[in-house]
């Protein structure tokens, strides 16, 4: 038998669930806990099945600090939650309004690279993704800074279609399928080299 304690961490705020009330994400935390660990939910928030998702429940508020300080604390926590929600909304709006650019550029007459820009907004680990592409396409792939000092992934090879569908899928997994993915293909133009702004 294990002598260790199995601790559950909240998937919404990352805290042990007894501290969710301090995370500013309590609404979503409670929903998650109720769905995944109903017994723990009952223990923390009471099993009355209360609909008031922001309600802390009797169990949590019984403490030594007295009613006045408790009320102040709860007001502060509600403010925190409001702030946190506004922040999340702003971040989502920012994500939805930004776009990913996938660019094919000619390196030589027959060699191409594919550059992906604009991923930094989406909490995508670029280095990891570069590694994934490198093994997926068995080619060179790196993260480098472009002229605007923003990181982009550069893949050696003519793989634009596969990259596009991979990125689409990645965004869809994050619930961001509405994000615009712009494909710029300089291959189709007659003078591909003039479109290349990079010099390396």
């Amino acid at each position: 038998m294990s002598g260790l304690k199995e601790v559950i961490y909240c998937e919404v705020c990352s805290y042990p669930p007894d501290y969710c009330e301090f995370s500013g994400k309590l609404k979503r935390c409670k929903k998650w806990l109720n769905e995944t660990h109903p017994d723990l939910y009952a223990k923390l928030y009471g099993d009355s099945g209360d609909d008031e998702v922001t309600n802390l429940g009797k169990k949590l508020v019984e403490s030594s600090i007295g009613e006045e300080r408790e009320n102040k604390l709860e007001a502060d926590l509600l403010k925190l939650q409001k702030r946190e929600e506004n922040k999340e909304q702003r971040e989502l709006a920012k994500k939805l309004s930004s776009k990913v650019i996938i660019k094919r550029e000619a390196r030589t007459k027959r060699k191409f690279i594919v550059a992906i820009q604009g991923l930094e907004v989406f909490e995508i680990d670029m280095k990891k993704l570069a590694k994934t592409f490198a093994s997926k396409f068995a080619t060179g792939c790196s993260v480098s800074k472009n002229a605007e000092k923003k990181e982009e992934i550069v893949i050696q090879g003519d793989v634009i279609e596969s990259v596009e569908s991979y990125i689409q899928q990645l965004l869809a997994e994050k619930g961001l399928q509405d994000v615009k993915v712009e494909v710029i293909d300089t291959k189709k133009k007659k003078k591909p080299t003039t479109n290349s702004t990079e010099s390396k």
Partner: protein, 181 residues
């Protein structure tokens, strides 16, 4: 300690050889004798331990991808992930409910937050100044922070003014959210 910590602060990463693993494990046990019972469960014989050297002479030790302890000087300090698995092993203090949100913001802990009705300090003779302590909170099951006593627990009770515990690591700080790869 981790207020501004980020991946950019990592200088190097290296695997810890099994002979050093044994030394680390016995060092942990010598610091926290109650860990002897569970040390092989916490750090199984075949685990992959990595030493992550960081800015400011901070060294993190990750066991199978999870940072379980770290050090700045000689002493090994448990991370909250380690504490949560076996909380009994560490000197512990408790703050009252009113102090929780300040602790979670990374502030040092003021003495009154450690001496009020909802708080708890060990009985006399208590803990010496500079002891690494686990910080629990009133009505909570799990620890929320790790700190270092800025005065002995007896002095905290007596003086009951000013900073009692220096914050080292708390839920939600960059070490808590740190993940390798």
């Amino acid at each position: 300690m981790f207020k501004k910590f980020s991946k950019e602060d990592i200088h190097s990463r290296s695997n810890v050889k099994s002979s050093i693993q044994r030394t680390l494990k016995s060092k942990l046990v010598s610091q926290y004798p109650a860990l002897e019972l569970v040390i092989d469960e916490l750090i199984p014989k075949k685990s992959h331990i990595e030493l992550i050297k960081c800015e400011d002479k901070i060294q993190l030790y990750s066991v199978d991808g999870e940072v379980l302890f770290f050090q700045k000087f000689d002493e090994l300090i448990p991370s909250l992930r380690l504490v949560h698995k076996f909380p009994e092993a560490y000197p512990t203090v408790q703050v009252d409910r009113g102090a929780i949100k300040f602790v979670l913001s990374g502030a040092n802990i003021m003495c009154p937050g450690l001496t009020s009705a909802g708080a708890k300090l060990p009985d006399s003779p208590g803990l010496e100044k500079d002891t690494i302590v686990v910080i629990n909170a009133e009505n909570k099951e799990n620890a929320l922070a790790i700190g270092k006593l800025l005065m002995s627990t007896e002095d905290i009770k007596k003086i009951n003014k000013g900073h009692g515990v220096e914050m080292i690591h708390h839920l939600g700080d960059p070490l808590w959210t740190f993940s390798i790869e």
